[in-house]
Structures are given as C-alpha cells and as structure tokens.
C-alpha cells in the first residue's frame, strides 16, 4: 500500500503545485472588485453620493453625469445583504456622504447572491476584498479559492488573456465604479432569457429577510443624516412581460410601502416610455446613453431634494422626469 500511496502522491504533486501556482497568479490578476475597492477607498472622504445594488445600477447609473462626487459601488449580483455589509463597513468613513441610491429590481427581494451556486456566487470576492463573512456553508472551497470558484478553464483563460497583454479587459469598470458596455444584445431574445434567469434562484422565503436589510439600511442612513433614494431603473418590455406578475407586484408594493413608511423617495421607472431601444444594453440593463439619461434625471432629483424643491417623501407622480 505504501508504494501505491507514494506513487499517487508523486503523481498528484506536480498537479497540486500547478493548481497552487494558478491560484496565486489568479489572485494577483487585476479584477473589478480589487479595482473598485482601491478607487472607492481612495476617495472615502470626498464621496457625496454612493450607488449600491446589482448590475442594474452598476450599468445604469453613471457617476460622470451626477454633479457631485459620486461612486458606483454596485456590482453584478450584489444583493441587499452585501449592500448592507458594505454600507455598515464604510458609513463612518464617508464623512461627506449626502445621498445613497439603493436600486430595487425584480430579483431584489427574492434573491441572495451568497446562496447562488457556482460561478454566480460572489461570496469569495466580498470575503477576500472586504472581509465579509456572509457564508451559508463556511466549508465550501468556493468561499476561499478563486480556482474553485472560477474553475481551471476560466482561470487559465483569464491568465493567458493577461499575459497576452489584454489585462485591461479583465477590469470592465472605470475609476468611478461604473461600467458602460459598448456592445448591445438582442432585446427580444435577451428579454425572455433574462426574465427566466431571474426566476432561477428566486426564493419567496427571502422576502422578509431582504425587506429587513433594506429597512435597516434606510434607518442607518437617516440616523446619519443621509438621504436614501430607492430607484428602479428602466427595463425593456420583453423583459417585463416575461416576469412573474405576482413577484413583480410584490416587489413594487413592498418597496412602495417601505418608502412611504420611512418618508423617502421611490423612483420606479421600470416601465418608463421615455427610454428607447437604443437606451438599453440588453433587456434589463441600460446602455451608456440610457445610463446618461437616467443619471442626469437622478442628479436633478438630488438637486431638488437638496434645494428643498422636492419633499423627501414625494411620490413618483409628483415628479416630472
């Protein structure tokens, strides 16, 4: 038996060394999380507006069109638990913060990205870069290893991309944290697929937990004198029509109730006819032109709130986009 164990170990050793090396290299490669964190932390004492949320705000709110120092800390599949974690971690260091934009979309109340399987699970990044301990299963290797999360193929592909001099492609956002994709997708097909995808990990049992996260964030902001603004970014009709109507209604009604209770703004522009097909990157994300339109509108809202022209608890019908 000793001989077999020795030979098996000898056989596995180079493979394990190779994997270890790949893990190390992978950790050293640039990525959005590291880039965002560095830029965000470099300006902690200057940000007046902070954007949180998932890809809908990551692509949909462009800080360049907001007339005050703004950072977009949103990211793909960043659900409310991570939003709350980041807010609590940094709020005391954000000395000039006046507004927090909290986007609400269809998956918001029924999803939790640290429960997602495989590549969709973002636990590793928040643990590694921000020290989050939001795990469901602490023992899963994906929480600690990029190789386990990304798999060898993706890790090899990314590493070769970097060493071919295409490292810039590994970071998609700019130094304000915003990402504006230059390509577009087929809105018909994408609408159907995205709507189905957002139901894939949807769990109605998360409703209460997510509503609690949102409420606690609002209370925290208000206690610090910061305006929380709830927004739902525009979506293309092919996406909206593919969503489960009960869940969609739950999202709107819950957000509306929370906004009324805490006397804050909820700007629901999901079905806004002002946004045309050219304003969309895909059926549920804005393109750079759409993001510009929406960010300028958001900027005007913030100015109105600051000037006292708009009550913090005004309802959407009071506001002319």
């Amino acid at each position: 038996m000793r001989q077999i164990l020795l030979r098996t170990t000898l056989f596995l050793l180079p493979i394990l060394l190779l994997l270890g090396g790949l893990e190390y290299v992978q950790k050293e490669l640039p990525n959005d999380y590291a880039f965002k964190k560095a830029n965000f932390e470099a300006g902690l004492d200057q940000w007046e507006v902070l954007i949180l949320g998932s890809s809908h705000s990551y692509l949909g709110i462009d800080p360049h069109h907001i007339a005050r120092p703004t950072f977009n800390l949103a990211y793909t599949a960043q659900t409310l638990a991570f939003d709350q974690f980041l807010l609590e971690k940094y709020i005391d260091q954000l000395t000039k913060l006046k507004f927090i934009v909290l986007p609400i979309s269809y998956p918001t109340y029924g999803s939790e990205s640290y429960l997602y399987p495989g590549i969709y699970n973002k636990t590793y990044y928040y643990h590694h870069y921000y020290g989050s301990n939001l795990f469901t299963k602490w023992y899963e290797p994906e929480n600690y290893s990029l190789l386990a999360l990304l798999t060898v193929k993706r890790a090899v592909d990314q590493t070769s991309q970097y060493y071919k001099g295409e490292g810039d492609a590994l970071v998609e956002c700019d130094n304000t944290g915003w990402y504006g994709p230059t390509v577009t997708r087929d809105l018909e097909e994408n609408g159907r697929k995205s709507a189905g995808f957002h139901d894939l990990f949807y769990d109605t049992e998360l409703y209460e937990t997510n509503a609690r996260y949102l409420t606690e964030m609002i209370q925290l902001c208000k206690s610090k004198g910061i305006h929380p603004i709830l927004v739902s970014t525009p979506m293309w009709h092919t996406y909206l029509s593919g969503l489960n109507p009960d869940r969609l209604q739950h999202m709107v009604q819950t957000t509306d109730a929370i906004a009324r209770k805490h006397q804050i703004l909820y700007l629901n522009h999901m079905d806004d006819p002002l946004y045309r097909s050219s304003d969309f990157f895909d059926a549920n994300h804005l393109s750079p032109s759409g993001a510009e339109k929406f960010s300028k509108y958001l900027n005007s809202i913030m100015q109105s709130l600051e000037n006292g022209q708009l009550a913090a608890h005004a309802q959407p019908f009071d506001i002319q986009p």
Partner: protein, 480 residues
C-alpha cells in the same frame, strides 16, 4: 456531493485512510465505517430522505429472515409481499404518485370530465430507484431459495447504502455483493491501481466526453425549432454519446472507488455504442438493470421457464421494456421509449437468424466483414437514436415536433453549426471500437505500455479533466 468535486475528493480520501488504517482491518468496524460514510454521503444531498433507506433496508432485512424461516409457501409469499409492498410503495409514492394522478386527470378530461387538479408536489429522493431495486432482488432471491438471509444487520445496511454505488448503481445482486461485506478485505496493489485508473477514466468520460457533448445538446434541446433537421440528428448522436459517457463514467468511478476499498462491483457497460443489433445493445447497456429486469420481470412473466408461444413472448417483452421505461422516469415519454425497444425486439422473435453474430470480429479483418459490422452498428444507432427522442423529450408533443423537424428537407443541408463536435464524437466512437477489439474491461488497461508513456497518458487525462471541469453538471442518471 458530485464525484467530480473537491468535496467528494476530500470525503473519499478521509474515508479511505480511516478504512484501511483506523479500523485495524476488522470487517465489522469497516462495515460500520462504510455505513456511517454512506449515510453521511446520502444525507449531504437531503438528510430528510435518509429515513427511506433505513425503512427499506430494515423491512427487507426482517422480511428476508421471515421468508427463510417461514414453514410454508404461503407464509413465504406473505413476507415477500411485505418486502415488495414497502419498496414498491416507497417508489410508487415518491416517484409515481404525481404522474398517475396527472394521468388520471388527463384521461377524465378526454371524456369531458373536469377534475380539480390537486396534486401533491413530491420531491424525488435521489437514488431511490436504485437502492429499492437492490433490496428487492435480495428478498426475491431468498424467496426463490437462491440466497440465504443475512444475519448481520450492519453488513446488510452497508450493502444497501454502499456510497460508491448508492445513487446510480450498478444495481448489485445480494449473491454477488453481500458476501463481500462478510469476509476480510485485503488491500491488493494491482486491484487498487486498476481502481485508480478506472476512476480517472470515469472522470474523463464524464467531464471531457459527456459534459462537452452536453453543452451542445443543451443548446439544441432548448430550442430545436431554431435548428435544421441535420443539426437535430447531430443532437441525437451527441446525446447518445453524452448519455453513455455520463452514465458509464459514473459506473467507472463507482467501480474504481469500490475497488480501492476492496470491493468488486459488477460491470455495467460493455461498449454498447458498438452493438450490432438491439438485443446485443441491451446485453451491453446498463447491464445491472437489464439483467435485473430479465431475471425478476421477464422471467417471472414467463413463469420461470422458456416460452414457446410467440404472442406471449412479445407481450412479455413489451411489458418488461415499458416498465423499464417507467423506471427511468414518471413520464409517458419514457414508456414510449421502452415500448419502442420492445417493438424493436419483435423481428428477432420471428426471425432468430436476424441476430448478428455478436462475437467480436477478430483479425484478420475482411473488408466485407468490416462493412457488414459498420452497417449493423449504424442501423442499431439509428434505432436507438429514434427511441432517444422520447427519452430526452419533456413531453410527447415535443418529441413529435422534434421528429417532424428532422423529417424535413433541412435534413439534407450541411449542418450550420457543431461540425467540430461531430468530429469529436466520431473520434470517440473510433476509440471505443479500438478498445472493444482490444477486449479490455475498460479503456485504461494499459499496463504493458512503458511507464513514461503511461504516466504521460495519465497526466494528459488529468489535466484535460481539470480544464474541462467547469460545467459541473449533475450525472443524468441521478434524476432517475
């Protein structure tokens, strides 16, 4: 806990070392460890269903003893029915309850009666079709006087729940497998080496062959209406290879991991894609299930002997294959798949000479012989692929639409996509053919090769597995 995950690797290595080094190689302690590991392995999926294995095992353990002790045939029968009732009851409730209720509702609707659709949403416990069949064969064999009831409860529980083959077989017979739990196991280096090779081969088949085919098959099955007839045919061919790679890969891993613990599991696949007629195919595909149905359904229907009445033989073939189809899943598509295979057997009943000479061609090959073999394999593949339309379809309408789209002028176009996958599929089939001619039990029986070449092959396979292991698809047969 899938076999191609780090979790399983850690779990298995831990069990391996405990098994050989912490048990003092005492059989009872080893069995206890296997039992604990198997229950943990199963509970990792869903602990709630662990009770089902325990119920099924205890019922059969007790029924087995009672059958053996019973003084007369009637009492023996009664205890056999208890065993059948518990196992088929569990299987029937968890796997088929919703299906039968839905089918009744549909049937009544045909005649214009509306029945309020109130079905229970029952989760299918993983592996239930496999372990219930394994324990059933134990009770039936005791009833038939072919096997003595076990007196060792721990060994019996470990036999039913043995983790390497718990989820998807091979469905072992008590006569082959249970005695292995009762005798001292020795670590034999040559067997262990072979076990390791078979694990590597199984992972390769699953990750590199099945999952890469599965990626393409997934695209095609998701929207068959957007592809031409020829691409749908390619989809069927790739699905055949995916299914084979996935399931035989699983079986290889199961056999390899069992072998490292000193157990011999039965062979489950014998190059079925090289079969030269449908009967030959069923002798090579999912052997443990096919022989189970042969011994416990077909033979029982035939009254235990050879039938001369052709009508009855046809009936028995149909029943056996339809039940076999239903075993795969609670859906009419599987019944049709099984019935088609029953239908394919009819010509051989009337014209036994049609059966190909399945003894493998030995060198020197003749051109005519090779072409004949190729033609027979092609015909068998076509028949198989046609039946597989129903196997992979979510419903009968989908299967019909898929078939009708194949039967369109677009069947004769050049395929617009997936040409490289076809090349890969053909290369795999040639590889299988060569291995079959080599008469190896599995493709990695390469001991005569120089060590450098062997290790080169192992490294190439291991690195390819690591690279392609990005989908982490569940094994197809886990859903059955």
């Amino acid at each position: 806990m899938l076999y191609n995950t780090l979790e399983f690797a850690i779990f298995y290595i831990l069990i391996f070392f405990l098994y050989w080094f912490a048990t003092d190689r005492r059989v009872k302690v080893q069995n206890l460890l296997i039992l604990a590991a198997s229950y943990f392995f199963y509970a990792y999926w869903d602990w709630r269903f662990l009770s089902l294995i325990v119920i099924s095992s205890l019922a059969d353990f007790y029924a087995g003893m009672q059958i053996e002790k019973a003084p007369n045939k009637k009492l023996k029968q009664l205890w056999l029915f208890v065993s059948l009732g518990v196992n088929i009851g569990l299987l029937g409730f968890f796997k088929y309850f919703g299906f039968f209720v839905d089918s009744f509702i549909d049937l009544f609707q045909i005649f214009g009666y509306e029945i309020p659709a109130r079905t229970l949403k029952i989760i299918l416990p993983v592996g239930i079709s496999f372990y219930t069949f394994q324990t059933l064969s134990y009770s039936i064999d005791i009833y038939r006087g072919r096997f003595k009831a076990s007196k060792d409860l721990i060994a019996f529980l470990a036999f039913v729940s043995f983790f390497p083959q718990l989820i998807a077989g091979p469905i072992e017979r008590a006569s082959n497998f249970l005695p292995q739990f009762q005798k001292t196991r020795k670590f034999k280096p040559e067997r262990a080496r072979d076990g390791l090779r078979q694990i590597l081969l199984g992972l390769f088949k699953k990750v590199v062959v099945a999952d890469t085919m599965g990626e393409t098959v997934g695209f095609i099955l998701e929207s068959p209406e957007s592809y031409s007839g020829i691409v749908l045919v390619i989809g069927l061919l790739l699905f055949t290879i995916q299914l084979y790679g996935d399931f035989s890969g699983y079986s290889d891993i199961a056999i390899g991991t069992a072998r490292l613990l000193g157990f011999d599991l039965m062979r489950n696949f014998n190059y079925p894609l090289m079969a030269r007629d449908i009967m030959d195919f069923w002798r090579r595909w999912h052997i443990s299930l096919t022989t189970w149905f042969r011994d416990y359904v077909f033979v029982s229907l035939s009254g235990g002997g050879m039938l001369r009445n052709k009508g009855k033989i046809i009936r028995n073939f149909f029943i056996t294959f339809a039940v076999s189809g239903l075993w795969h899943g609670a859906n009419w598509t599987f019944v049709v798949w099984g019935a088609l295979h029953g239908l394919y057997h009819i010509p051989y009943i009337f014209f036994p000479k049609l059966k190909s000479n399945v003894q493998e061609t030995r060198p020197p090959f003749t051109i005519a012989g090779t072409f004949k073999a190729l033609w027979q394999m092609l015909l068998t593949t076509v028949l198989n692929c046609f039946a597989l339309i129903f196997f992979m379809a979510p419903n009968l309408q989908y299967a019909w639409d898929y078939f009708m789209r194949i039967c369109s002028p677009s069947l004769f176009q050049m395929p617009e996509r997936f040409k490289w996958k076809v090349v890969w599929a053909i290369a795999f089939l040639i590889f299988e053919r060569v291995q079959m001619i080599r008469k190896t039990k599995h493709s990695l029986e390469i001991a005569p090769l120089p060590v450098v070449l062997r290790w080169g092959i192992y490294y190439a396979m291991a690195l390819t597995i690591l690279y392609f292991n990005y989908e982490r698809r569940a094994f197809i047969y886990f859903q059955f």
